[in-house]
Each structure stands twice: as C-alpha cells, then as structure tokens.
Amino acid sequence: MNSKGQSLVDFEPAEPASTRRSLLGAVGLAGLVGTAAAAVSSAPAAAAPDRPTDADSDLLAAALGLELAAVELYKAANETLPDDFADIAEIMAEQHEAYADSIAGVIGVSSAGAANADVVAQLSGDFATSDPQAFGAVARTLENIAVATHTELLGTYDSVDAIELTASILAVESRHATVLTSLAGFAANLDEMLGNTADALSLTGGAS
C-alpha cells in the first residue's frame, strides 16, 4: 500500500534529524544545563512514594514550563495556519494544556504564566506560519524534544505519580511527533516516522 502522506517529490527535508541537535544549540536551550537529570534514580518503585518528592516537584515544574510553552506555540500556529491544519494545532494545544494541568495538579501549583520563556522565544517565529509543511517540521521537532525530555526525566523521578503521569504523556506525544512528521513530508522516511534522535532539554527545575 502506498503512503497517504504528503508527496516527498523534490522535497528537501528542511530539518533532518542530524540538525536537531544544532537546533537545540541555536535556540539557546543548552544553557539550561542541570545536574538533576543526570542523577539517575535507583529507588525501587515498590518502595517509592506515591506523591512527588521535592526533587520530583522541581523537575515536574520544569516539565510544566515546557508543556505550557508548547501550548503557547500551538496557539500561535492556530492563528496563522489554514483551517484544516489550524484544527491540528488546536488539538495539540489542548492536549499539551491537559498535560500542563495534570503536572500542575500533581505538584500542587497553578499552571498560569509558567511557560518556558526560552522555548517560546526561540520557536514562536517558526510556529507562526501559514505553511502546513513548515509547521509540521518545527512542531515535530518540539514534540520529539518533549518526548526525549520526559523520557530522561522519567528516569530521575522517585515517585509513582510522577512516573505514571510522565509515561502517559510521552506515549501520546510520540504519536504527535509521528503525525507531524508525516505532515512535514517525511511519511515515507521510516527513520523519521519511527525514531527519535532528539536530545532532551537539560532542565534545572522550575519553569522559567
């Protein structure tokens, strides 16, 4: 059966996997270097607390900032994309908002006004596009980074709540990434559709 995605004829991938690391450098997110994500948790889950520890809460707050940044970016795209694609941006915004609300609920904070300002500042120009394919390219990059970040954070969490919530988020964000990769014109590229070579953001904890 043939791919039902967009034609790849004469399409030069605007953002192949190998450039995602450079994107991270370009957007200045590498400045958010932290040590918490490197400190791998070895707490047995059976003895793990249900509620987030203080360390978990700090990292969840950083994840919250990333999710809220995604909400802002998708809302911006929703304003500029043609109708059918604006609907996709709207759904993505709603889902990321649900993740933000859930994270905020788990750590007991308000999610209002806590978006990661660096992520928003560096990607908002690319998200505010009327070109669906360009939107797909930048949005899939964001989703892949989000999946990589949540996955790395998951290895550092001690609490069951943090682990379960994060696992349920990254499973669907992976689907986002696949759908957006197809929209970006890579439907026939199985490395891009099925894989994720994005680097995780290094988060120090706390949303900026």
Partner: protein
C-alpha cells in the same frame, strides 16, 4: 331428629382456636419450646465452616502456588510481548497480504520489536533472571491464535432456504484484518510498557520500557497513517465527535486519546455473519495470568 354430626361446620375464628387449645396441648407446646431452646443454647458456640459449601464428592481444591512478580518476571513478560508481535508480523508475511510500502514498514517493525525483545532480555539477565525468547503462551492461546483463525476462516452464510454458502475471504479482507490486529497489538504493547514504568524498580529498566512505549506508540500511528491515510490522524472523540464502525470494523486513529491509555482494546475481525457482525476479541495488558513467571520454562 337431627344428628349433631350433620350440623354444618363453620370456619373457626381466632377466638375459637384459642378456645380449642386445651391444657394438655398447652403443656405439649410449652415442653417442645423449652426443648428447642435448650438445643439452640447448647449449639450456640459451634462455629460453621468458613469455606464455601461443596456439593457431592468432588476432591478438595488444592491451594494454588503463589509466584513472585519481580523485575525479572516483568521484563520476561515484556520480551514475550515483543516476540508475540514478531510472530504476528511474520505470520502476516507468510500470508502474502503485505505489499509495497506496508511490507517495508513491517520489516522495520519486526526489526524494532526484535531489538526491544533483546534489550528486555539483557535487562532480565541483569536482574538475575533467565531471558524469555519466545511468545507469550497465554496471549497466544487465548488471543492471537483465535484471532488468526477468525481472520482466515471463510464466510459462512445461511440463505432463506437454509442452504449454507461458504465463501473464502479475499487477500484484501485478510490484509485489512491483519493490519487492525497489528495496530491493536502495538497499542497493547505500548500500554504494557507504559504500565511497567512504575512497576520496575531500577531506573535503567524504567527508561527502557518508557522508550519502548514511545516507540510502539509510533509504530501504531505509522501503521494507521500508512494504511488509512491522513484522514485518520486524530480520533473524532477528541474533537467532540463519535466513532462509527465501518463495515463492522472499529476504525483506528493515529492519536486516539490525550493520555496514554492502559485500558483493554476491542478488535473486531473475521468474516461478517448474517447480521454484518464480526467476531469480537478483547486484548489487555498482561496481568497475573499472563506474566512470564520465573517458574515457567520455555522448553
């Protein structure tokens, strides 16, 4: 003369009944009551059997052994699911229902599941267990094999005259069912790994299953987009719509929920019956009955 016995008898009233309980009867009733009270009092401290009642001479049910569910068991179970997915894809290849880009995709999915199975096997050994290298017998026996049988079975219809008509399914029909099975299986595998993230005790193990969950979610979404196209990007349920079965088949979407679901999934497969219905199967993430316990041998 009138014989007294011929006098018509009228029903006795309650007052009449009281009147007819004579002293002798009162003594009898009183004695019986005292005797029963004595028996009840004597039996008051006897405890009833707490086990469920049994009828007949059936043998006593032996106590079932309790097996540990530890990291090794969970990782062996994860391997078994990966191997089950490989089995299904290889079965589809043998059926010859995969063509073109879909065939290429399935080759890649087999490679990915094989690699994940090997990763889970390595983690199993690191956790002190024995790697599991074959399919999950419980899921194979109770889900995969019946589903494949239903998919391959001919359509059997009875007409108005009672005549039975048997029609072999086309390759396209079989292929569509196999794809829906694959999507459902990928969803279940992703859900299983998602569940394992909070059950495994070591960070390395949790990271491995989280990555597997994410990858298998991509598998599912890619299969949907490859076979059904961009119209199946997002479930209508997420935008206030509803899902309507098409031709007795549950339509699948690349994005079906906001959070990763760990609920069981229904698969409708096989030929339709007289009413246009297909066989229904429920696939769920592994539980106590489908774990690959350390006591279970592959031999």
């Amino acid at each position: 003369m009138t014989n007294p016995s011929d006098t018509p008898r009228t029903p006795a009233s309650l007052n009449d009944l009281d009147a007819r309980v004579g002293r002798r009867q009162a003594l009898k009733i009183g004695g019986l009551s005292v005797s029963l009270a004595a028996i009840v009092a004597a039996c008051g401290d006897i405890q009833g059997d707490t086990v469920p009642g049994r009828v007949g001479n059936a043998p006593t049910i032996p106590a079932l052994p309790e097996y540990d569910v530890n990291d090794a068991v969970l990782l062996r179970t994860a391997s078994s699911l990966e191997n089950t997915a490989v089995f299904v894809y290889e079965a589809a290849q043998e059926l010859g229902v995969l063509e073109g880009d879909l065939a290429t995709l399935v080759e890649r999915l087999i490679a990915n599941h094989t690699a994940t199975s090997e990763r889970m096997a390595a983690l199993t050994v690191a956790a002190g267990g024995t790697a599991w290298t074959s399919t999950n017998p419980w899921i194979m026996d109770r889900a995969i094999e019946p589903i494949l049988q239903a998919i391959l079975a001919p359509q059997i219809l009875t007409d108005d005259n009672g005549d039975v008509e048997q029609t072999e399914r086309t390759q396209e029909e079989i292929g569509l069912d196999v794809v829906n099975l694959a999507i459902t299986l990928e969803n279940m595998a992703s859900s299983t790994h998602q569940t394992l993230t909070s059950l495994l005790t070591q960070s390395e193990q949790r990271l491995a299953v989280a990555q597997a969950s994410a990858e298998e979610a991509r598998h599912s979404a890619t299969l949907v987009l490859e076979v059904f196209g961009i119209a199946r990007r997002v479930s209508p349920l997420l935008v206030g719509g509803e899902i309507v079965n098409a031709n007795g088949i549950i339509p699948r979407y690349a994005i079906e929920s906001t959070f990763g679901s760990v609920a069981q999934e229904e698969l409708l497969a096989g030929a339709t019956d007289e009413n246009g219905n297909r066989a229904s199967f429920l696939l769920a993430t592994p539980a106590a009955n489908s774990f690959i316990y350390e006591e279970l041998d592959e031999g």
